[in-house]
Symmetry: C2
Amino acid sequence: MTEQINPFVRALQTYDVLTVDEVAVLNALPTRERRFQRNDEIVRERDRPDQSCLVVEGFAVRAQFSENGVRQITALHIAGDFVDLHSLLLKRMDHSVTAFGPCRVVFIPHAALRSIIDEHRHLSRLFWLSTLVDAAIQRAWIAAMGAGTAPRRFAHLICEIFERLRARGLITGNSFVFPASQTEMGDILGLSTVHVNRTLQDLRAQGMVTWTGDKVTIEAYQRLTEYAGFDPSYLNLWSEPR
Amino acid sequence: MTEQINPFVRALQTYDVLTVDEVAVLNALPTRERRFQRNDEIVRERDRPDQSCLVVEGFAVRAQFSENGVRQITALHIAGDFVDLHSLLLKRMDHSVTAFGPCRVVFIPHAALRSIIDEHRHLSRLFWLSTLVDAAIQRAWIAAMGAGTAPRRFAHLICEIFERLRARGLITGNSFVFPASQTEMGDILGLSTVHVNRTLQDLRAQGMVTWTGDKVTIEAYQRLTEYAGFDPSYLNLWSEPR
DNA sequence: CGATAGCTTGACTCACGTCAAGCCCGGTGG
DNA sequence: CCACCGGGCTTGACGTGAGTCAAGCTATCG
């Protein structure tokens, strides 16, 4: 069991110091692990789950479908993210959770989570905090969609993913593995596939990123962040008493 | 003191039943009330507040500014919304809170909130829930911005505001007071003022809404929700044990 | 009575979507 | 081993939704 929620423990530790006791409590959580392939549905919209899921390896997304069948991804989750802690209190899913490339996911019964949040005040606040950081990321996406041009939004997203992966130790050099097709990037950015392609070429031509297969390399981080107007502080990637 | 946080008590009661004791605890919170005029800044970006604010009358928005000075509103709050409960755990504001029309706001020290969430488990969950509903609304905005056309987005927003106000008893007939200029609507929808104007004319021409001064009337609710593809369930406006 | 903020309209531009075709590559089956 | 196939990438031509600029209009306020 210990192995399974480790990435989540690491995630919480980027926000605040955990006691040995708290780590033990987290590691004692009952878990059930499953593997998913690209596009597998992990949690279905409108369901009322009695467990929450946590990504331990790979990526998962939250997505909604509009009338015309267009998919809009509203959140991207990396290893260590507690994807639908929401369902513990919201009860009914207003979106679906889908595997974004192959991923390993751990399910934890609501009952177990409920007893943790009722009995461990500090952990309870950190659970809450993790959903607040998700919300802060969503605000950044709204701001980018409303105010930014396509290449700047794309650049901003790359910066965000880079920093989030870095905080979890998932970066090698200045590159990372990201198994997204250009169509899927379009679902995140709210752009057509064709325009994603042209936008990416733009960033490549500016010598800021390389993207081959599922490997993304940032060639000029400084220039990329300036171009995107990226300020990582909304990610709350620092430790402080909470 | 009792009067002051009443709208918030009412808000929590739409999610779950409160005990008499819980209502008393909320009403005993130390509060400091202030009034603001349109565009007054209530909380500043980058600040580290030691109190949280709650709208008791009128409207407030959360907004971010991009490089080029464009304002994007990322959340709209109505009477009864606990606007920046976030700062209790996130510590540093990643956005500003601004009065949207005249409004009354109540400030509550973090210390008092902290002791409530540490000592009252059920209230603690409901506080958390209220931020989760905010996040659900943000997801709906992302989905609308990414996938919808301007008139549908506008229609969707009107439906959302209507339902949220209705849950707080702030609707008269089929109209409500909403003190937004078309420029401000543009800041919410991520549209230019000119396009907001044309979009609104479109909705008027379809006989779905009337918008005169600060009074918005929905002329054909059924058609409006269908046109917008509006499903209110993401607002979680029902009572259930949480 | 002018001043100012907000609404409306028209003309033009541009970012992005749509449609369509070709290309490259890995996988499959004969 | 080659022929074929499909998914994803790339490119071009063209259409359109939304932005920008500019002007006139209306209502409110001092």
